[in-house]
């Protein structure tokens, strides 16, 4: 018997893994991937709650989150590429110039 809590717990664990990734890693790309994991965890929670209530609203919100994630990746990777071209590294500890 699958309970709602199963899915929510999975979502919580994935979200925490994403948080650990953002806090620990200094590679900008990996931090980006961790953000993706967190967004996915949120989506999973939305869809699980939508399933519990039998409504479609949660799925619609998850759809918006996906569109947002796509936009975020396009701009974020563009910024990372620009920083890499300028500074030659994507180690966030070494990127310490405000001047472009």
């Amino acid at each position: 018997m699958i309970l709602l809590s199963h899915y929510i717990v999975v979502s919580a664990i994935l979200f925490s893994i994403g948080v650990i990734g953002v806090l620990c890693r200094r590679n900008a790309l990996v931090i980006f991937m961790s953000v993706e994991i967190m967004l996915n965890a949120a989506n999973l929670a939305f869809i699980a709650f939508a399933r519990e209530h039998g409504g479609m609203e949660g799925q619609t919100i998850a759809f918006f989150v996906m569109a947002l994630a796509a936009a975020e990746v396009a701009v974020g990777l563009g910024i990372i590429m620009a920083v890499f071209k300028k500074q030659g590294t994507i180690d966030l500890a070494k990127i310490n110039f405000l001047k472009g």
């Binding site: 999975v10 664990i13 806090l23 590679n27 396009a74 563009g78």
Partner: protein, 166 residues
């Protein structure tokens, strides 16, 4: 039966998510992320959200991950182990914070015990039709705003990627 699938896919996605943050090689992390996203897509499928499951595979595996792989290859980061995880002070604090968050969330949500399968869902649940009705009805304005957001993202990405004109 469903329970077995649930444990398999959730285990898969959690394990590969751990790999994402602990692999040293950026490219391997990206591949692990593909597995995570795929596992989450399968969980969506188990929750009867078939349209979103396909959407997840299309958007993430088809577009987002290809962008990631492109960037990694362009920077040629994968091969040398550029950035090792130094478990410095901040790193330890990060891990502790994350684990605390996980424990907090898990103990908080363990109590939600609504059985998922008790509800009798209609035939249309999770189909493109039902998502589309909401998107073009109640959520029409957010939907149109999303298209503006994507347009802005495209313009921003092009501006960032363009060579500076001298």
């Amino acid at each position: 039966m469903q329970l077995a699938f649930f444990y398999f896919f959730s285990g898969l996605s959690i394990l590969s998510a751990l790999f994402v943050i602990f692999f040293r090689n950026t490219l391997s992390a990206a591949i692990a992320l593909v597995v995570t996203l795929f596992g989450v897509a399968c969980l969506f499928g188990l929750l009867e959200a078939h349209f979103l499951a396909a959407m997840q595979v299309l958007v993430y595996a088809g577009a987002v991950m290809v962008l990631f792989l492109f960037v990694i290859m362009l920077m040629n980061l994968g091969r040398e182990e550029l950035l090792k995880i130094k478990l410095a002070f901040l790193g330890i604090i990060g891990v502790i914070t994350g684990v605390c968050l996980a424990i907090l969330l898990v103990t908080r949500f363990m109590g939600l015990s609504a059985p998922l399968l008790s509800l009798d869902l209609g035939v249309e649940y999770g189909t493109v039709k039902s998502v589309g009705k909401l998107l073009f009805g109640e959520y029409l304005i957010p939907f149109e705003l999303t298209s503006i957001l994507l347009l802005v993202a495209i313009i921003g990405a092009i501006t960032l990627a363009r060579k500076p004109q001298s």
